[in-house]
């Protein structure tokens, strides 16, 4: 493998990693607040793909992008309202099952409405444009993805650390009950968290599918799982952790594919999970919790 090929792969890896990071943040935020593995998150990402396909067909692309972002955000909020919020007092396993139920429903609904066959993802003008840097040729979206990701993460960190709602989010993730006793409106904060997570997933979806070019009802499930692993790797609850985890998984996966072991690129992610749980269960940036007796 020569240096150019290497750079080419690195670039692809960073790009995939950026998308993963955007999805991983959604997992990390929700887990941080509700201690819930939101199994439906990957499917929200998939539905965002369909939103784009259908809105793009009937309206100009900037509007279609806005519709996709808004639609996905609303979907995220609605899912929380209908499937998770009634189970606030229920055992955590019930909420997890509900999340799987939503995932199952979205997948089956997508299969029913759009058939199981892959649908072509629209080419957003300009994004697929080929760019040449030296001997490396790549598309604009590949370059753009990590940049957008990092910008959004910076924005999110500002939001979480500097704004009132961000402070409320941190308070809730630290101590759910104490936060609600202090007058924080739990439901608002939770809705907001889901909104942000879904919005980022929608952005990730546009970048990811522009590159992959097709969407099918199960295209969210594996990336979803991988991004959860990315979030665990970085330390669940930590936004920079999700970013680092996303890039790590994305780059490793690309490298593994590049050296001809495609079959194991998916398996690798879960080996990362097991190894991480063995050596550092709190992840790179995670904090240790003590269970109160």
């Amino acid at each position: 493998m020569n240096i150019n090929q290497l750079l080419q792969h690195a670039l692809t890896g960073i790009s995939v990693g950026g998308c993963y990071a955007l999805i991983a943040i959604g997992y990390t935020l929700v887990y941080g607040i509700l201690r819930l593995i939101n199994f439906a998150h990957g499917d929200i990402f998939m539905v965002a793909g369909y939103f784009m396909i259908f809105s793009f067909a009937v309206m100009p692309f900037p509007v279609a992008i806005v519709v996709t972002l808004v639609g996905t955000t609303v979907l995220g909020i609605l899912i929380e309202k209908f499937a998770y919020s009634p189970l606030r007092q229920a055992p955590r396993m019930s909420v997890m099952i509900s999340a799987i139920g939503v995932s199952y429903l979205l997948q089956n609904l997508a299969t029913y409405l759009f058939t199981a066959l892959p649908k072509a993802y629209p080419a957003i003008p300009g994004l697929k444009q080929v760019i040449k840097i030296g001997d490396i040729s790549t598309s604009l979206v590949t370059i753009l993805t990590p940049i957008i990701t990092i910008l959004l993460v910076v924005l999110l960190l500002w939001l979480v650390n500097r704004t009132k709602i961000g402070m409320a989010m941190r308070a809730v993730s630290r101590d759910y009950e104490a936060a609600s006793l202090m007058g924080i409106k739990l439901n608002q904060v939770i809705s907001f968290t889901f909104a942000i997570g879904s919005l980022l997933a929608a952005v990730g979806s546009i970048l990811y599918f522009t590159d992959r070019m097709t969407v099918f009802p199960f295209s969210g499930s594996l990336p979803g799982l991988k991004c959860f692993v990315a979030a665990v790797f970085g330390g669940i609850g930590s936004i920079p952790g999700a970013l680092v985890g996303g890039f790590f998984i994305g780059i490793c996966e690309t490298v593994i594919k590049a050296i001809g072991l495609s079959t194991f690129s998916d398996a690798f992610t879960f080996i990362v999970l097991i190894v991480m749980l063995l050596i550092r269960p709190t992840g790179l940036f995670g904090e240790k919790n003590i269970d109160k007796v």
Binding site: R35, I37, F82, A83, P86, L87, A90, R92, M93, S94, M96, I97, S98, I100, G101, V102, S103, Y104, L105, Q107, N108, L109, T111, Y112, L113, T115, A116, S221, L222, L225, F228, V229, V232, T263, F264, D266, A267, T269, F270, I271, L273, I274, L277, L278, P281, V293
Partner: protein
């Protein structure tokens, strides 16, 4: 009666269950004799039985130990492939492995079906033990994602070209000997179910339940929670593996796509509908869901009423219905059809008796 006697166990329920078994065997034998007429019914029953085994095995770990494992498809795949590889008739093997050939060591490796099923279970149990060691020491949240991930790894490995000579890669395996009769299928499933019920109602099963109820309290009465969780996970996976072997026998041909995550979700659906932590719930749920899927098949066919096609009816509709059903149960009937209780005559009697008077009967209070 002052002494608790073991024969108290031989109670009305046991007799009823025996009666159910006898009646089932008679019915199944009748169906077997008229195989051509009842082919469809037989296949639904066999599938339900296999799913009942797997659902109950999932319930051991999820419903009785309180650990959320989502590796069913993966463990089933291990059991199914082990069983298939060891039972496909030697004569058919060149035909099955026509693309890549078969590993010489496996060329003549044939064992009787029950042995193959047990080996399938053991392979699944072995892998469960390995995953359990790192994961079960931590908060059990991660178990769900680790097992789900594992399930996908297994699928990827099975389909990989490196495994061609063992699993036949993406071509899958066929010519797996099926059940000779539905009675045979019933017998295998019944043995699994009885063993699982015995475990659940033993002192080991009580330790599982203690962990589900309260880990700290369980430790305070001397239960080693890591060992017990690991045991539950391994036992559950063993039976899931056997269930996978049974599924292979039912289907006669398998490939890696059989064991997608949706398979796990299908099992979860049964467990949740039947009631998490209910043995009879899992069994009834398996029949309910399997038969329901067949009965609702017409939802997937275009429906024409008075010359106009009703737009709702097209492929995928029944799965949407099942998804919605799952959500409804999770949200509104959190305990499922049976709500952690068991269908039993004794239970019903106990209920009515308790209303009259509290303090009469003797016997195992479990």
């Amino acid at each position: 009666m002052n002494k608790l006697k073991f024969k108290d166990k031989i109670n009305v329920d046991l007799l009823i269950y025996l009666a159910i078994v006898v009646v089932s065997v008679i019915i199944l034998a009748f169906l077997d004799m008229n195989k051509f007429e009842y082919n469809y019914a037989i296949s639904i029953i066999e599938k339900s039985l296999v799913y009942a085994v797997v659902a109950l095995s999932m319930n051991i770990v999820t419903g009785f130990t309180g650990l959320f494992s989502l590796g069913q498809a993966g463990f089933m795949a291990l059991g199914a492939y082990t069983t298939a590889i060891l039972t496909i008739p030697v004569a058919s093997r060149p035909n099955v492995y026509y693309m890549n050939g078969i590993l010489p060591a496996l060329e003549n490796a044939v064992v009787p079906i029950p042995v193959a099923l047990i080996l399938g279970g053991l392979v699944a149990a072995l892998f469960a033990a390995l995953i359990g060691i790192p994961v079960l020491k931590l908060k059990s949240d991660y178990l769900a994602i680790a097992t789900l991930g594992f399930s996908e790894i297994i699928r990827a490995v099975i389909a990989s070209p490196m495994m061609d000579k063992i699993t036949n890669g993406s071509y899958g395996l066929k010519s797996i000997p099926g059940f000779k009769s539905s009675v045979e299928c019933f017998a295998f499933s019944l043995i699994c179910i009885v063993l699982m019920v015995l475990i659940i109602n033993s002192s080991t099963g009580r330790d599982f339940k203690a962990i589900r109820e309260d880990e700290i309290a369980a430790r305070s009465v001397g239960i080693n929670i890591f060992k017990t969780k690991e045991l539950s996970f391994v036992v559950s996976s063993f039976f899931t593996g056997v269930g996978g072997g049974l599924l292979a026998m039912f289907m006669r041909s398998i490939d890696s796509k059989t064991f997608q995550i949706t398979l796990t979700y299908d099992i979860l659906l049964i467990v949740v509908l039947g009631g998490i932590g209910s043995i009879t719930g899992s069994i009834v749920g398996a029949f309910f869901v399997t038969a329901g899927k067949e009965i609702l098949r017409f939802f997937d066919e275009p429906l024409v009423v008075a010359g106009t096609e009703i737009p709702l009816f097209k492929p995928g509709f029944r799965m949407v219905i099942f998804s919605i059903l799952l959500m409804v149960v999770v949200l509104f009937f959190r305990k499922g059809l049976l709500g952690g209780k068991e269908l039993s005559i004794k239970g019903m009697k106990k209920y009515s008796r308790k209303k009259e008077e509290q303090n009469i009967d003797e016997g195992g209070a479990v």
